[in-house]
Point group: C2
Chain length 143, copies 2
DNA sequence: TTATATAGTTGTATAGTACAATTATTAAAC
DNA sequence: GTTTAATAATTGTACTATACAACTATATAA
């Protein structure tokens, strides 16, 4: 494999994470943080589930997800309902308000990314999306 | 611009940050954290500089860089030398030990990324590196 | 029916960041 | 030249995002 490409990816990945971390910690960019966003999105797209399933899905510790879910509940974006089949377990269910906030937040993200990608060719946008997805899948597989 | 590509990039970017954040918080992955690594790399490649210049370069708050630099100094990776031209300012200079640690850490990162990219074509690797660099440059320009 | 596994929560710790206040020093105004 | 304003760096505080360890309550297996 080309050593030079690897070095570029290695460096630019580090830079990317730092830049994005900095941007998403900016409160002007919406009421949701990145993690809450992904959690809410998952509950919206895949339906209700519990802390364990979410933690597995995201490869996070259950304690992390538990706190994030509690935060979402506290803000009224999700409802916590006991699992009738298992006295230990709960389902988190996105509320109408949660959906509304999710949609708005996502649009804000899309707007910012659209600005960033101003001037990029359609081909590059498509390829970038594909490669990011592929890379993320590689991480899941190999971690 | 293609709406679909945008949505993919938007989503996969969020996922990527979460996954990488998780990986780099794993202590097995070396003695440096990502931020310290970038700081040290900058001091190695671009030469000594002060907190202000580093903060500008990285678009971080000076307080953040100040603490990171203090951490590097404490570990003996850099030396803090007063600027002879300005009594307020200092230069942080990478030490031989710092260079050694930097090189080792970088190799660890490269090894992990090489594993992740196992099975990728040379073309995709090259393209991914190029697009990441381009995206990072877009962030600097537009932020 | 006792032992073990599981779902979830909470306490504690760390990295990484920002903002505000402070100190020391330099540069600018007058 | 003295006062005022700007700048380099540090420190206090706070917040997000994460992990690990200890714990509670419930369920499953021996």
């Amino acid at each position: 494999m080309n050593e030079n490409s690897l070095e570029t990816i290695e460096l630019e990945m580090a830079v990317l994470i730092r830049r994005i971390t900095s941007i998403t910690s900016d409160k002007r960019n919406g009421i949701l943080d990145r993690s809450a966003y992904l959690l809410l999105l998952q509950l919206h797209v895949q339906g209700s589930s519990g802390v364990k399933a979410l933690a597995d899905e995201f490869q996070l510790d259950t304690s992390t997800v538990s706190r994030q879910a509690a935060g979402l509940e506290q803000k009224g974006y999700v409802e916590k309902v006991p699992d009738p089949m298992d006295g230990r377990a709960y389902f988190y269910q996105i509320t109408d308000f949660g959906i509304k906030v999710l949609v708005e937040y996502k649009q804000g993200r899309l707007d910012r990314i659209t600005k960033l990608l101003n001037g990029w060719s359609d081909e590059d946008c498509e390829k970038f999306g594909d490669l990011l997805r592929k890379f993320n899948q590689s991480i899941v597989g190999k971690k």
